[in-house]
Amino acid sequence: MAKDILVLGPAWPEVFLACAAMALLMLGVFRGESSARLVSWLSVGALAATALLLSGTTPERGLTFGGMFVIDSFAVFMKMLVLLGSALAIVMSLDFNEREKIARFEYPVLFLFATLGMMMMVSASDLISLYLGLELQSLSLYVVAAFRRDSIRSTEAGLKYFVLGALSSGLLLYGASLIYGFAGTTSFAGIARIMVDSAGDMPLGVVFGVVFIAAALAFKVSAAPFHMWTPDVYEGAPTPVTAFFSVAPKIAAVSLLVRVLVEPFGPLVGAWQQIVVALAVVSMLIGGFAAIYQTNIKRLMAYSSIGHIGYALVGLAAGDETGVRGVLVYMSIYLFMNVAAFGAILCMRQQGRMVERIDDLSGLAKNQPMVAAALAISMFSMAGIPPLAGFFGKLYVFLAAISAGLYALAVIGVLTSVVAAYYYLRIVKLMYFDDPVDVFDQPIGRPLGLVLAGTSLFTLLFFVYPAPLIFAAGLAAAALYAG
């Protein structure tokens, strides 16, 4: 028992990232405030190195730290996405922070800690490690949400997120305690064994435990009706932070939700399937309808992300390997198109000030055709118009739902995506057919431009060669069900 506790092999990437984050913190402290840009680039480097280490880990399933930490293809896949999302977010923040005079070295360090928390979430195989990973991630996110501390909206965002996040943590812990009370163990494998053994008569407490845990995780992925924080926080937080919020933590929380529901509570699929279906339906409806009346682009993106989580949950609701593969594909594609959209939003700057109204985009195509094209690609993709990447994401989750017999869910999904298409296409219409208002500042900066170009091209050309991603997602989903 004691021997296998300190087998670090599977967890090297996390250990490295933790050490790197602390080292960069020290570097920042001693170099002073001027080191923000250096620390940022080093952070990106650290994330890249972590990804490299991660790609070197063995693809077989491995447990360490007394069974609290698991690594498998699923975890590797999700961690890669998380690392990519974080790195892109840091790169996108560089110029923004300097312009807004919030360039401080703690910012990338907090991103690193948040990323570390997410990786721990993805690899959690115990309720305790799950909770700690979640808290590490959340706490870092609360702080970066309020990072522009002189802005009332930013601090309000941080505070709201913090209070509601604490509430969701309470729900999570309560649910975990119920499960522990029944199963006598917190490890996923142990819980799964108990669930199989007592499949016949499951007491109400366990079901409630699952409900509470699912609700808490639904809060983290901002699935309705636990989504209320999302629009306010997205609007208030600095834009690159919002971009970060909308990808990496979502991916981590989705993978956590998937793992928790599939691994320990897999035998309870009949119970949680209905919960997930309900979450998916409400999220898709809210994401479709509430976005229509928004005038602020960041709020719009918040509702859009709620809707996307709804679609991803459709795959999870299928409750089988195909469904999980659909979720993974969806989240990967979501990452790219969302980063592209936020990259374009970060270009919305007039006379040195950020603007966030949707109307400010009018006639963008005439002034900045490339930015407009990138945003248009992203919007078309989010609306799910073939052959852009977003279409494939939706295709795979809906196919999974149909093959699982969830016809009503698939139909609702398609209908709400029609509603959602309205506001996505409205943006395209504004950019291409309306008269220009004020010109946005140029140039947009090289790092941001590269991110924007890369993610748009991925979204645009994904259909040419989708096989690797689909294949990797299939492997990852299979690993989850094999374990």
């Binding site: 028992m1 004691a2 506790i5 300190l6 967890a11 933790a18 602390m22 913190l25 730290f65 007394g66 609290m68 930490f69 401080r104 703690e106 360090v109 907090l110 800690f113 570390l116 928390g117 721990m120 115990d126 305790i128 490690s129 700690l132 990973g133 808290e135 590490l136 706490l139 870092s140 609360y142 702080v143 309020a146 990072f147 501390r149 941080g158 119920l178 522990y180 009370g181 029944f182 199963a183 006598g184 163990t185 142990g190 064994r193 108990i194 053994d197 007592s198 008569d201 007491p203 109400l204 407490g205 409630f208």
Partner: protein, 204 residues
């Protein structure tokens, strides 16, 4: 046994009552004091379970540090709690309804509670009997071995909390004099003291 049971019910009742008072007391200072009372009773419950280390930690850290800090903050900030409670009555019916539904469900859940047949062998087997080693030592045995991962993770959470507190509050103000002990100590005598020869009865 009876005494133990009596103590358990006493602590539990007071704990719940104190917790209710924390959220219902009109004066925030009273709320914090009730919170301290709740902590003490929770510590009592821990002692009853034989977890004296946790009990002490709870008293020392939560009562000694956290709650006192709360008290300072509440006293320094002049918050008009009555204003915050204005919507209370408006939402009371529906809030109460939801609360009651939840309460009924949880109570029902408690009545039909069961422990999985295999649970004891999975969980309890790893816990050393209280008689063999004191629980402080037992904690020490597992904290850096079996739970080293979560222990370190918790450490990181605290580190992030610290960074966050500094990032969000620390301001470099201009024109504020700070104590610099090294400079104070190394100040030479010549620069701080000037000997002036004064002729007697000459005045200044």
């Amino acid at each position: 046994m009876i005494i133990q049971a009596l103590a358990f019910y006493l602590f539990s009742t007071v704990l719940i009552a104190a917790a209710v008072m924390v959220i219902s007391a009109r004066n925030p200072v009273h709320s914090v004091l009730f919170l301290i009372l709740a902590f003490f009773n929770a510590a009592g419950l821990f002692v009853l379970m034989g977890a004296e280390f946790l009990a002490m930690i709870l008293v020392v850290v939560y009562v000694g540090a956290v709650a006192v800090l709360f008290l300072f903050v509440v006293m320094m900030l002049d918050i008009d709690f009555s204003a915050l409670r204005q919507g209370f009555l408006r939402y009371a019916p529906i809030g109460g309804l939801v609360g009651i539904v939840l309460l009924v469900e949880l109570m029902w859940m408690a009545t039909v509670w069961a422990v999985a047949p295999g649970a004891s062998e999975v969980g309890v087997a790893r816990m050393p009997a209280a008689a063999q080693i004191p629980n402080t030592q037992a904690l020490g045995l597992v904290l850096y071995t079996r739970y080293v991962y979560v222990f370190q993770a918790a450490g990181l959470v605290l580190l992030v909390a610290m960074i966050g507190a500094i990032v969000l509050t620390l301001r470099q103000r201009e024109g504020v004099r700070r104590q610099d002990i090294a400079r104070q100590i190394s100040r030479p005598r010549e620069r701080s003291v000037e000997l002036v020869k004064m002729p007697p009865r000459a005045g200044v």
